[in-house]
């Protein structure tokens, strides 16, 4: 066979179900206390530092990491359960989500010990927020076209240039970014980029918010002017960032956040049609639920492979491709099905407000964190076509 794609059925172990109950109870308390409204999808509006600390206090941040860094050494499947329950509840996770998913694991792999001891426990306590500095004005999907320079100086590097579309940069305490330390070579155009840890909120960094079509100000332009980064903030090999990117991608691409972004409109549609739907509504809901269930089983399967120490890069890319296309179409399908919902449905206003937001959110879902085109390129390479 050309393609040995595997999605073995994973059953979540019993300890996950216990944990799920704890997470649901915690979220129910937070909702009751007014921390957030689960029916209000635009959670990105809410920066919730106190909530973030309480999640940390529960031991649900960095939960797979070594205990000496503040982690719990729990499994990826347990982290999966926490992530999906937070998503489905529309909890305000922005402050900690990137650090927990991505930045922490990068630090564990590439940061010097003193940095790990300093920063990782603070992520686990929910105290600090991370941003990712990848895209630049002339470098988006083509990561290796990045031009922002890191020039060697005494004891570190001077950074000059601009990152853009940087989510949460306006609240972030740190950024993990790639900067150009050398020119690309003839043989390898990916050569010359280095990964750095950047401490934000300092002179030499200017964060300019950019309005999004949803009406939110969630991503930013970040301008560096002679900004100093010390030597021990280099993450991994100088000029060799391209070797370091791949293994993290499976985590980034296959999680429940890759198909649950607009899930709330499906719940609200089910509420609106009531217990005795007509055939059209029933069929529409049935198909959407079957598609959702299938993606979740694929995503859980990838989590199981990660737990087993594998690097299912192609499988993860497939989950993100199918998942993001689905969550992008979901608000439109729900809108179709809601067209004949009774005017008197008690949650009609909530559903309409949610649809309005989800429809405006939809276009970004197949762009952020690796476009559909990039993902299909990766899948094609996995199939032996490139």
């Amino acid at each position: 066979m050309t393609a040995a794609l595997r999605f073995d059925p994973i059953r979540l172990p019993e300890k996950c179900e216990q944990l799920r109950k704890e997470v649901r109870a915690f979220l129910a308390e937070e909702i009751a206390a007014g921390t957030f409204d689960p029916h209000k999808p635009n959670r990105e509006d809410t920066d919730a530092p106190e909530f973030s600390r309480r999640v940390g206090a529960k031991g649900w941040l960095g939960m797979t990491w070594p205990k000496k860094y503040g982690g719990q050494e729990r499994s990826f499947l347990e982290r999966y359960v926490v992530t999906e329950e937070m998503r489905v509840a529309n909890a305000p996770t922005r402050r900690f989500f990137v650090a927990d998913r991505q930045s922490g694991p990068v630090l564990i792999k590439y940061a010097p010990e003193n940095i790990k001891m300093e920063i990782l426990p603070r992520i686990c306590r929910g105290e600090i927020c991370f941003a990712i500095g990848m895209s630049e004005p002339n470098s988006g999907s083509d990561l290796f076209a990045a031009k922002t320079r890191a020039t060697k100086t005494d004891g570190g590097y001077l950074i000059n240039g601009t990152k853009i579309w940087t989510s949460s940069a306006h609240i972030a305490d740190y950024m993990i970014a790639i900067f150009r330390t050398s020119a690309p070579t003839k043989e390898n155009r990916r050569h010359g980029l280095t990964q750095f840890l950047v401490k934000m909120k300092q002179p030499g960094i200017q964060v300019n918010p950019i309005g999004q079509i949803t009406g939110q100000y969630e991503f930013n332009e970040v301008v560096f002017t002679d900004f100093f980064v010390p030597d021990d903030h280099v993450l991994g090999e100088v000029d060799g960032a391209w070797k370091q990117a791949t293994s993290e991608l499976a985590y980034e691409r296959s999680g429940p956040e890759r198909f649950l972004e607009t899930y709330y409109v499906l719940t609200e549609l089910v509420r609106a049609v009531g217990p005795n739907p007509d055939t059209r509504s029933a069929e529409g809901i049935g198909r959407l639920v079957a598609q959702l269930h299938t993606m979740r089983r694929m995503s859980v399967s990838v989590a199981g492979m990660l737990e087993a120490g594998k690097e299912p890069v192609v499988e993860a890319s497939i989950v993100k491709d199918i998942g993001t296309v689905w969550e992008q179409q979901l608000p439109h399908r729900v809108r179709d099905l809601a067209a004949f919902v009774e005017e008197t449905a008690t949650n009609r206003e909530t559903l309409e407000r949610q649809l309005d937001f989800a429809i405006k959110t939809a276009p970004k879902l197949t762009i952020q964190g690796g476009t559909t085109e990039v993902l299909r390129g990766i899948i094609a390479r996995g199939l032996g076509l490139r």
């Binding site: 005795n276 198909r287 497939i318 490139r386």
Partner: protein, 354 residues
């Protein structure tokens, strides 16, 4: 599902490779491959995989049988293997021993009903029964005044109107008119026609997933051979992205089908969670058969549209299998009703149940 994970699949794949090679089968206009293939499968005990030893079968696990069906899909096997397996399984639900030879099950659609009369005879019409024409016996689920019974029926006593599905396999209408069964027993408590349809649907889902795996395989290979505009068509981004989507559909079908199979193999009863798994598998695999099959044809161009090429053995069967044991539309309506009836706040707990 991995090839050769277990002895049942290993045995089956060897037989399929020797006696059901898709290209040789496709070249053989007289269907002379069918007899030797069935004989080899029978000698290996595969058609009665799901029948316990004491009822005349080989007593394989549900999981092994499901893996076997997935392998059969990868070879687009066109003998009543899945049907005989399902029939043996159905009969075993009422502790009825399986006879030798080809069998199939009826009804094969959730809409059809066979009734058990007071005199112990069976009546009713079942449409779209796969391989009824080839079967020596039918395993029948019937409704009587005391509930659900399962019966073994001599195929010669039924009236069969022959038909073909879109994959050119027999899909026949079977009419029972006061037919006395060979054996009839009450089904175990809680067993009903829906259970049987879900089981049949998962069997078809695994076959569709297998067919899609092969469609992906032969499409990738073809794209790496065929040259157009002075390069292999696999080097065109439009073709690459189409194949990436086919990989996604194949992966989704495989994940949905194997997850449902795993759920059934480990279930103590057919509860809402198993219903979600089985119905979702049939819905998603049917959708994948349509989308994935279309891409496989697109990549192959005109050659894939010919009877000489093997692609249609997979693509048309995958489409045909959508119709058996409830179409995706049927299951979508039923699943939608179940979800609506449980209520909005019970949807996520259902989806996240395993």
């Amino acid at each position: 599902m991995a090839e050769s994970d277990n002895i049942v699949v290993e045995t089956a794949e060897k037989i399929f490779a020797d006696l059901a090679d898709p290209q040789e089968v496709n070249n053989d206009k007289k269907n002379s491959w069918q007899g030797p293939l069935w004989q080899a499968l029978s000698e290996a005990g595969l058609p009665l995989s799901w029948v316990p030893d004491d009822l005349g079968g080989s007593g394989a696990s549900l999981a092994d049988g499901f893996a076997l069906l997935n392998a059969a899909g990868r070879f687009a096997v066109a003998v009543p293997l899945a049907e005989t397996m399902l029939a043996g399984w159905l009969l075993a639900q009422a502790k009825i021993a399986s006879p030798e030879g080809e069998m199939t099950v009826l009804p094969a659609s959730p809409k059809d009903r066979i009734t058990l009369d007071a005199d112990g005879s069976l009546s009713g019409r079942a449409r779209g029964v796969p391989f009824a024409k080839a079967a020596k016996h039918f395993a029948v689920l019937a409704h009587g005044k005391d509930g659900v019974s399962i019966a073994l029926v001599d195929a010669a006593k039924a009236r069969i109107e022959s038909g073909l599905n879109v994959g050119y396999d027999h899909s026949d209408t079977v009419t029972l008119d006061k037919v006395q069964p060979v054996t009839l027993k009450a089904a175990s408590k809680g067993f009903d026609q829906t259970t049987m349809m879900l089981m049949g649907g998962v069997a078809r889902s695994l076959q569709i997933a297998g067919a899609l795996e092969s469609m992906l395989d032969i499409s990738v290979r073809y794209s790496n051979e065929r040259v157009a505009f002075e390069k292999k068509i696999s080097k065109f981004q439009a073709v690459q992205h189409n194949l990436a989507r086919l990989a996604g559909e194949s992966a989704a079908a495989l994940a949905a089908a194997t997850s449902a199979a795993d759920a059934i193999a480990n279930a103590t009863r057919f509860d809402d969670e198993v219903y979600l798994e089985a119905a979702s598998a049939k819905i998603r695999c049917a959708e994948a058969a349509e989308k994935g099959g279309a891409i496989a044809h697109q990549v192959h161009g005109a050659i894939g549209f010919t009877l000489e090429h093997i692609l249609h053995r997979y693509s048309l069967r995958a489409l045909a299998w959508r119709d058996d044991f409830g179409s995706e539309s049927h299951w979508a309506v039923e699943l939608g009703k179940l979800v609506a009836n449980r209520g909005a706040d019970e949807l996520w707990p259902l989806v996240a149940s395993r």
